[in-house]
Symmetry: C2
Subunit: 326 residues, 2 copies
DNA sequence: GATATTTACGTCCGCCGTAACTATT
DNA sequence: AATAGTTACGGCGGACGTAAATATC
């Protein structure tokens, strides 16, 4: 190995690895020209004396075994340097900076607005980037290092190497128009529900603990009138009488949705936990700690730090905490 | 904070901190000109927006509180980057590089020669730097990051933030010329010893478990004929009949010292453990693992890695190991 | 006046972006 | 043809060393 490598080269290589082995998208993600990446990568591999990526023609097809090892170590080095920078800014009392987060529709639409408002009030000069997407898209943004925080419900398996902190729990509610037959029922049952066409989230019908399976276990197979990606669409179609809606409890606004009747369904479906996550090895800025505290008041700095050090202890650390149910 | 800091700046700042806040010696240690450090430091502090060092006039007198925090984090970042580089070289199968170690006279003179020989045979292209000094000097070299490995006996307190692995144990032996009265004694006692002037190491008479105290506890106060810094000097004066020598057991060579008689003194003085240490957070090169294995065959890669991860477990990890006594 | 740090200056090297080129589909 | 990566070129900026200046003791 002749010569020195530098952090920038590793940053570039990591960006390539994280952006589907595409030099172009890595360049876009980092805001540099594409030749810059291409050249730096070549120089890096040259000083290393071996390749990090396998090429087919000019395209990168996969990471070499050596690359796996080194990119892993490089990730740690880059993370450590980023932590240093974050610490420096905090010590400087520098209020600027950015906070980028990715979350789902329901969180962005119903849960986060007051949190964001509060945050902006305390940190007006931090520029906030909120990205909305499916769990998969959120996971992708995290993987490509485009966001610092991820907020989602379930799908923990998609977020490897992250520290996932439970924030609050919610259950499903059934929504129907006024005067719907179900409003006369004192305590809903699955059988009653299954008698009507259902309108609910797309993802509620796939996966392990899907609604499908819950009904199936009771030997019921309800008709699905419509699956949507967000609660607003669901409520719209419930209003049109298309069927009975099943939405997250947080997605109901007493005022806005006063034309609808919400029926408790906590006893029918399992409870969900919404979490917020960040990459392991990241040092959070002061303002990020603040954001987390606004989001979940139990998320004290002390608790977050402990969880960061050893994420396997998270269940234990949160066991005694009574998370709010919304 | 405006602009970016870079690793080099932090390396420089760390070097200054580690070299007694002297810009000049930091420059020498890093092999760069002194203005380079001075300038980089100024630039770093400027982008940070606050000072890392307190100045009195032009001289640096101490580290600021902010500096403490940041240099600590910077150390981690730099160490992580160095680890990356070390890994890269190993993955490249790069046999070059260097291994620098600091140790005491006894180790350098009696214990290390075969280790070094073996090492050179396996890694002829690694250039080896062996520095000899007192425990304090060794600690200083470690602190200034001028050596990767330190080998010493006792003085653990001087080597903070290091991983210290026990290698072997040794006891003291009494050496006298042939026909010395003590050679007739079957089993030495402190009282017998105290009847003669003693010749031994300087450091054996200072500190916690010094010879002085051992004799004092037995109400004895032997006459000290000479204290030397190395065993060769001691043996020389024993040969001249100046007194009875007390040396490390490893410092006796059956052939070379055939004109002297060695008397067992293991029952009189506490046993010592010689250790080898390296800074926490360092990633060792392959050849360094090899060196350690040659030095202490029980120092397997697995054991070293475990000890590195959590040095507090070292006593536990080594408990079941029977260290050789020499 | 000696020592250590800072400032000044000239040079060089490295990295970047634009643009042209090339391989692959 | 379009897409993605590489090579070529010109320019800018950062970092270094030498040398001079300036504090500080």
């Amino acid at each position: 190995m002749s010569g020195e490598t530098n952090l920038q080269q590793w940053r570039f290589a990591l960006a390539v690895a994280r952006n589907g082995l595409s030099v172009t998208s890595a360049a876009q993600a980092l805001g540099v020209s594409q030749p810059a990446i291409s050249r730096a990568l070549k120089a890096l591999e040259h000083t290393l004396g071996f390749d990090l990526f396998v090429r087919q023609g000019r395209a990168l097809t996969r990471v070499t075994p050596e690359g796996e090892q080194l990119l892993d170590a490089a990730q740690r080095a880059v993370a450590e340097f980023n932590s240093l920078t974050a610490l420096a800014q905090d010590v400087a009392g520098d209020e600027s900076g950015s906070l980028s987060l990715a979350t789902t529709h329901t969180q962005a639409r119903y849960v986060l607005p007051p949190v964001i408002t509060e945050f902006r009030r305390h940190h007006p000069s931090v520029d906030l980037n909120l990205h909305q997407g499916t769990s998969e898209q959120i996971a992708e943004m995290v993987a490509a290092d485009r966001v610092q925080l991820a907020i989602a419900t379930g799908s923990e398996a998609l977020f490897n190497d992250m520290v996932l902190l439970p924030v609050y729990r919610w259950h499903r509610q059934v929504v129907v128009p006024r005067k719907h037959p179900l409003t006369r029922s004192a305590r809903l049952t699955l059988a009653q529900l299954a008698a009507f066409p259902l309108v609910t989230y797309v993802f509620s019908f796939s996966g392990q603990s899907s609604l499908q399976q819950i009904f199936a276990r009771a030997d019921l197979s309800p008709k699905i009138a419509l699956t949507a990606r967000d609660s607003d669409v669901i409520k719209t179609y419930v209003r049109l009488g298309l069927g009975v809606g099943i939405v997250a409890s947080v997605a109901l606004d007493p005022r806005e949705d006063s034309d609808l009747v919400a029926l408790d369904a906590a006893h029918l479906f399992p409870i969900h936990t919404t979490w917020v996550g960040f990459r392991r090895g990241t040092r959070l800025r002061e303002h990020t700690y603040d954001f987390l505290a606004f989001f979940g008041p139990h998320l004290s700095r002390r608790l977050i730090d402990r969880a960061s050090v050893d994420p396997t202890r998270i269940p234990e650390l949160f066991r005694r905490l009574v998370l709010p149910v919304r």
